[in-house]
């Protein structure tokens, strides 16, 4: 343990924390039993946590504001889910099918991230934010007009009008039905798969950040000109971060969709992108612990208010809490107090400070 750097110790604490929460929840569920509401929320929370981690890689580590991440989520969701339905007979084992679907979703999302990244990453700052926003909307529009069918002869595609249904052979299925999205999705996502996805995301992100490429990415974030002057190919390294982030978002999308039995492209609109951005901003940009906690907290909050019979004012309370949390966590006085406290307790700095800030709420 002693040889580990401070950074890797913090990373292992993060892995350990996630696994500990998972084990505790499983134990509690088998001994006492979680309510159906919480059980139903576990998979969406895992998906949102992964989304927050993915976006944190772009916003926090790479320093580019992306407002179109829901677009990558939807690419992954649609391609992964369509693949899972098409592979139903080929791979009967549900966990394996889920894994394959998530990999396919991640691959398609990565491809979309690469194609979009080529023009987008030549921009920076607010321009980049606005262009990613536009691409998110374009992806939504495309998926709203895409028809994909599958039969013994393979896949069939059409755009704008549904000509696929007529061309399908006997026993074929319409996988993606334009504005109708995907219906009758087999529910194969599990909480375990969600936790594995979160852990995989953490491993990828931590290792990337601590690698040569990660240092180049952060150097480009802190001072683009200085980074270029020492020979760093800024666009290339930003592209690496962007594509990995898109891939993780795609995998999260597959996981999310296969926990519901239906999905439409309109679900992944601008509001969803902003929701994920709120997770990242609240958790602290670049702080993975914070992203996990804030995504969990903000997904649970409106639903927990339901159980306290505040459902009439659910969204209002949610908004007020969000404003208060934003103000409090950005209050310099409180931040200093939290840091002082962290100093006093064994000088465990970054991870613990984030945690301390959270528990105030």
């Amino acid at each position: 343990m002693k040889r580990l750097s401070k950074q890797s110790r913090a990373n292992f604490l993060t892995y350990g924390g996630v696994i500990l929460v998972y084990v505790l929840l499983q134990l509690y569920n088998s001994q006492v039993g979680l309510s159906s509401m919480i059980q139903g929320l576990l998979i969406p929370i895992c998906a949102y946590v992964t989304m927050a981690l993915a976006l944190n890689l772009v916003v926090g580590v790479s320093g580019e504001l992306s407002l179109g991440h829901a677009g990558f989520m939807s690419v992954g969701a649609f391609s992964g889910t369509a693949a899972a339905i098409a592979l139903q007979e080929v791979i009967p084992a549900a966990p394996l099918r889920l894994a394959v679907a998530m990999v396919i979703g991640a691959a398609f999302a990565a491809l979309a991230g690469f194609v979009i990244g080529i023009p987008v990453l030549r921009l920076n700052g607010d321009y980049l934010a606005i262009v990613t926003l536009a691409f998110g909307e374009i992806i939504k529009s495309i998926l709203n007009n895409l028809y994909v069918g599958f039969d013994a002869r393979g896949f069939h595609f059409s755009f704008l009008a549904d000509t696929v249904s007529d061309r399908l052979a006997e026993g074929g299925k319409l996988l993606i039905g334009g504005p109708m999205g995907i219906s009758r999705i087999p529910i194969i996502s599990t909480f375990t798969a969600g936790v594995v996805l979160v852990l995989v995301s953490l491993v990828i992100i931590f290792n990337l950040v601590n690698s040569r490429a990660g240092r180049a990415i952060m150097a480009a974030r802190d001072n683009r000109i200085a980074a270029e002057s020492v020979g760093i190919n800024v666009t290339k390294y930003k592209m690496i971060a962007f594509v990995i982030s898109a891939a993780l978002a795609g995998a999260a999308g597959s996981l999310y969709t296969m926990s519901l039995s239906t999905i439409v492209a309109n679900k992944f609109d601008f509001n969803t992108s902003i929701l994920i951005l709120v997770f990242v901003v609240l958790g602290g940009m670049g702080n993975m612990w914070g992203a996990i906690l804030s995504a969990t907290f903000l997904t649970l909050l409106p639903e927990l208010l339901r159980t306290f019979n505040l459902d009439q004012y659910r969204m209002l309370v949610y908004a007020v809490v969000l404003i208060i949390v934003m103000i409090v966590t950005n209050n310099p006085l409180l931040q200093r107090t939290a840091e002082d406290l962290a100093e006093r307790f064994h000088r465990k700095k970054p991870a613990q400070a984030g945690e301390g800030g959270q528990s105030h709420e």
Binding site: G40, V59, L67, M285, R306, D311, Q312
Partner: protein, 417 residues
């Protein structure tokens, strides 16, 4: 700089959410349902004897879960689709109050908000399950209902949705039933009606291509029209975001010589189409579907424009029969607006449940799974008369069979055709 932009956007969303919540709060005063039982006895002509049974339901839920059937539903109570969810909840609440006042079968109603989102609908459904829901009203809108119907099927909790009309809601599930027409049935029924009545030979269709409801109706309308030899001369679309200017679509329909325009959509875009057609001097026959219901009460809409519009709808708030009039009167007294078909569908759902439970001799202490089996047996065999249709029957696939009513708007009111 970026951090501030991010914060600014985050705050913008917060305020948008707050605004949504406010809307929901205003349109649905939380006191309304709890006030209802108090008002009923004071309005009733005979005082003492009436008060006793009407007080009973208020106490029963407090005594324990065994006294009343726990009836749960999800619907958009906030957000852009809130008009449908609140209408359904209000309609169901009126029916529950009425039935409880009779003293026989008792219901306890719990409506949860799903903001017209599948993920939230599943959470809302799970909340209801934790509450101990025995019978479900499904979800109000189609996509969320697809998600909750899968859950209903898995958990063996019977569902009767008032208004989720897509086929995927009931497909492959033996315990999910619909009170409304399925989308495809509406399309083919409309084509059949136009053909039978000889209303037109050349038809134009304007539909919304990112909407399940609109697309479902349009698809079957077009195929049925082709089958009947009804000529569809123009087909144009719109989507969210470009639903304010319809000149292109109308010009195309006009140039194609259509003498009837079919509008499978909700009433807001339909009202714009009618007024823009009027401005350009195009006056074909107009034919709508049940989503058109509500156009006459739309604020700022000149009802003279809707003159002569035909629509197939299961419910009509201006109908002369006593049942409809009593319902409309009560709804207006409690919620201050004219009920639409969502409210009527939900009202019918609760009464259909009451009839089925009575016939099956079910008691509130039965488990949800036992009730589910009893309800499947009842619904596939019984005949039900409600606000939205006489002698309705259900097939094993969960679809309802009832005669659509052809309505035409004359002098600002619906008149049966």
């Amino acid at each position: 700089m970026k951090k501030y932009l991010a914060l600014l956007l985050a705050l913008a969303m917060v305020f948008a959410l707050a605004a949504c919540a406010n809307n929901g709060g205003n349109s649905t005063p939380s006191e309304a349902p709890s006030e209802a039982p108090v008002e009923t006895p004071s309005e009733a002509p005979s005082e003492a004897p009436v008060e006793t049974p009407s007080e009973a339901p208020a106490e029963n839920p407090a005594e324990g879960a065994t006294a009343a059937f726990k009836l749960g539903g999800t619907g958009p109570l906030t957000g852009p689709a809130a008009i449908y969810g609140t209408a359904a909840r209000n309609g169901a609440q009126i029916a529950v109050d009425e039935i409880n006042a009779l003293g026989g079968i008792q219901f306890e109603l719990n409506y949860q908000d799903d903001t017209h989102d599948a993920e939230k609908a599943v959470t809302a459904y799970n909340t209801l399950k934790d509450w101990g829901m025995q019978l479900s009203l499904g979800s109000v809108t189609s996509k969320p209902c697809e998600a909750t119907a899968a859950k209903n099927f898995e958990d063996r909790i019977f569902a009767l949705t008032p208004s989720a009309s897509s086929t995927a809601v009931t497909e492959g599930k033996d315990n999910v039933f619909q009170m409304c027409f399925m989308d495809p049935n509406q399309g083919s029924a409309s084509a059949q009606y136009i053909f039978d009545q000889g209303l037109a030979s050349k038809v134009a269709v304007i539909w919304k291509n990112d909407d399940v409801y609109s697309k479902g109706i349009r698809d079957t309308f077009v195929s049925k029209a082709a089958e009947l030899g009804l000529e569809v001369v123009s087909e144009t679309t719109f989507a969210d975001g470009n639903d304010s200017d319809f000149n292109v679509q109308l010009t195309e329909a006009k140039n194609a010589g259509a003498d009837l325009v079919f509008l499978p959509m909700y009433y807001t875009p339909a009202s714009l189409i009618l007024s823009q057609a009027d401005t350009m001097g195009y006056a074909p026959k107009w034919f709508g579907v049940d989503g058109m219901d509500g156009i006459l009460t739309l604020e700022g809409f000149d009802t003279a424009l809707a003159e002569g519009v035909m629509l197939l709808t299961p419910f009509n708030a201006d109908a002369e029969d006593a049942k409809t009039q009593a319902f409309v009167e009560k709804y207006q007294a409690q919620y201050g607006e004219v009920p639409n078909q969502f409210a009527a569908d939900a009202y019918d759902c609760v009464y259909a449940y009451a009839q089925a439970l009575e016939a099956a001799g079910a008691t509130p202490d039965m488990s949800a799974a036992d009730l589910c089996d009893a309800m499947i047996a009842q619904f596939t065999s019984m005949t039900f008369d409600g606000l939205t249709g006489e002698s309705m029957t259900w097939g094993a696939d969960g679809a309802v069979t009832k005669a659509p009513k052809g309505m035409v708007i004359q002098d600002g009111a619906y008149v049966g055709m």
